[in-house]
Point group: C2
Chain length 320, copies 2
């Protein structure tokens, strides 16, 4: 079968022929109809991930068929018994185990769920990793309450967009930041109240003047802008962080944190139960993940280049 394989750390993966997977006991084989990229795939390609194994088929997100059953794959493997944190056996599909950028993947039957019927395979493939991460970040960690105002930074990324769609569907007032005015404009079309471009000076002051303070902030950047984000947290507010694209957090005021009784919550991925709740929510609200572009599997390098450029709005999908 054709598959997208990491052959050299530091270079885009290549399409090559790989043997079809044989299911182990308890596994099923999914005939993949669509897969989706995540930032994780780019970190792996760039060598910025622990335990990278050359020769692995990449890809965490996939939608496909088991006979004529349409399914989504939960890429969160071996979480363990503690809902607070993944255990030591935890891994994410697509490194070191062969992933979804292929015609077939073998996966434990407990990791597949029926795909919500309103979704295409491309839309379904865009959902699992980003949806799961966003669900845990927004609901399990963020614990939004009635009338809370929510800020989501870096809108355009898959997790940020899913968190935005979930929060809007749940009835919250949502604001966003981005480095691109065009992405803020597209987020407004989704229903957000407004946004500011973080490339402009004093963006945090403008946002505070326009929106006030935020009960819940969801961030994936960290860096020195995190210190500015924290100035926007309301009393008893929460800041959930699921990424660190800008590196170490700098300039974070302890006084803001303790005087406002604020909380910062780190989160990544989620449990089987959270995955099931997320899928049910998507089905109930008929949510459709935002797709940036769809690429043939043979053009995976183009899809990776698109993600690396950071210009996408929504998920980048591969079609085997």
């Amino acid at each position: 079968m054709k598959a997208v394989v990491l052959t050299d750390i530091g270079a885009f993966p290549v399409v090559r022929d790989m043997p079809e997977p044989r299911p182990l006991r308890g596994q099923v084989v999914v005939s993949l109809q669509a897969a989706a990229l995540n930032h994780r795939d780019l970190w792996i390609v760039q060598g910025k991930y622990p335990g990278i194994k050359v020769g692995t088929i990449l890809g965490s997100d996939g939608a496909g068929l088991i006979d004529d059953r349409a399914v989504l794959i939960n890429p969160s493997l071996g979480w363990g018994d503690d809902p607070r944190v993944q255990g030591t056996d935890y891994e994410i599909l697509g490194m070191p185990r062969h992933g979804t950028f292929a015609e077939y993947v073998a996966i434990e039957s407990s990791q597949v769920v029926d795909m919500p019927s309103h979704l295409s395979f491309e839309q379904g493939a865009a959902l699992p990793l980003a949806g799961l991460t966003a669900w845990r970040a927004l609901f399990t960690k963020g614990q939004p309450q009635y009338n809370d105002r929510i800020l989501i930074s870096g809108i355009g990324g898959g997790v940020a967009l899913m968190a935005c769609q979930f929060a809007l569907a749940a009835g919250y007032e949502v604001w966003v930041t981005s480095g691109h005015d065009s992405k803020i404009a597209r987020a407004r079309q989704l229903g957000v109240a407004g946004g500011v471009n973080y490339r402009q000076a004093d963006w945090h002051k403008e946002l505070k003047a326009r929106a006030g303070l935020f009960d819940l902030i969801i961030d994936s950047a960290g860096g020195s802008s995190f210190g500015l984000l924290a100035q926007l947290v309301a009393p008893a507010g929460r800041i959930v962080i699921y990424g660190g694209t800008l590196g170490a957090i700098e300039g974070l005021s302890p006084q803001t944190l303790f005087w406002r009784q604020a909380t910062i919550l780190g989160t990544t991925m989620g449990t089987q139960e959270e995955f099931a709740k997320m899928i049910a929510f998507v089905a109930e609200h008929r949510l459709v993940p935002v797709i940036d572009s769809v690429w043939p599997l043979a053009e995976a390098d183009g899809a990776f280049a698109k993600m690396q450029a950071g210009q996408q709005f929504g998920k980048i999908v591969l079609k085997p």
Copy 2:
């Protein structure tokens, strides 16, 4: 009556004659037998506090008599209805309202509780603000669970010591840091498992090698050492921060936070309910606050100089 009054911002307060307080409706007058300093008093003297009013009697902590009833004063005033965070009317006794560094103070009767009978007035006066802050930090925010390992930074300060005593009384394994070996030695006498001096290079690595990771870390410093503290947090661990003596937090890894599902919780002071629980815990376990030194009210400047030097281990007490 004699009282310690802030007359110039930037200078130590002075002892002067002030009129005895007249109780408003709902208030009682406490004949103060002992009072205690907090870092807050020093911040006020240094002008590092919002809403400073010259002419105010300082002091948040006091123990005394109402007729022959021995009482402690809860200095946490007007918290409001939300246990998560103090409301906009919140204030702390001793600025802008006249405080406890005096012979008498007028206070709402709902703010006084019976002093646990095993305590002297000096010991009782050492308890309220530090005990309340430590209680909320350790139990309400930190939510320690069975077998958790706890790290308390900057041992020697009043809140850190009370948190240490509470955690030991509740049966947890406690480790400490300090900039003084002598303070670590004294903490070992209280029952802590061990500690490291944060002035030595790679102190965090030594602590990790000796103790492992910590389920709960309690810090009042912030600064760049917070980034090192965070490297010591266990999976699903919590870092509670109630002060910022070293300024803005720097070098805090988002990856550590999100991959370990760690949480940072800001906290200050506490509710009436938390105060009552803290007092009951102190009475039940017959805990005795650690006192560094006792000073006559007339020598308040000596007490302030001692606190400013940062050499104390335990509370600095004033006797009217």
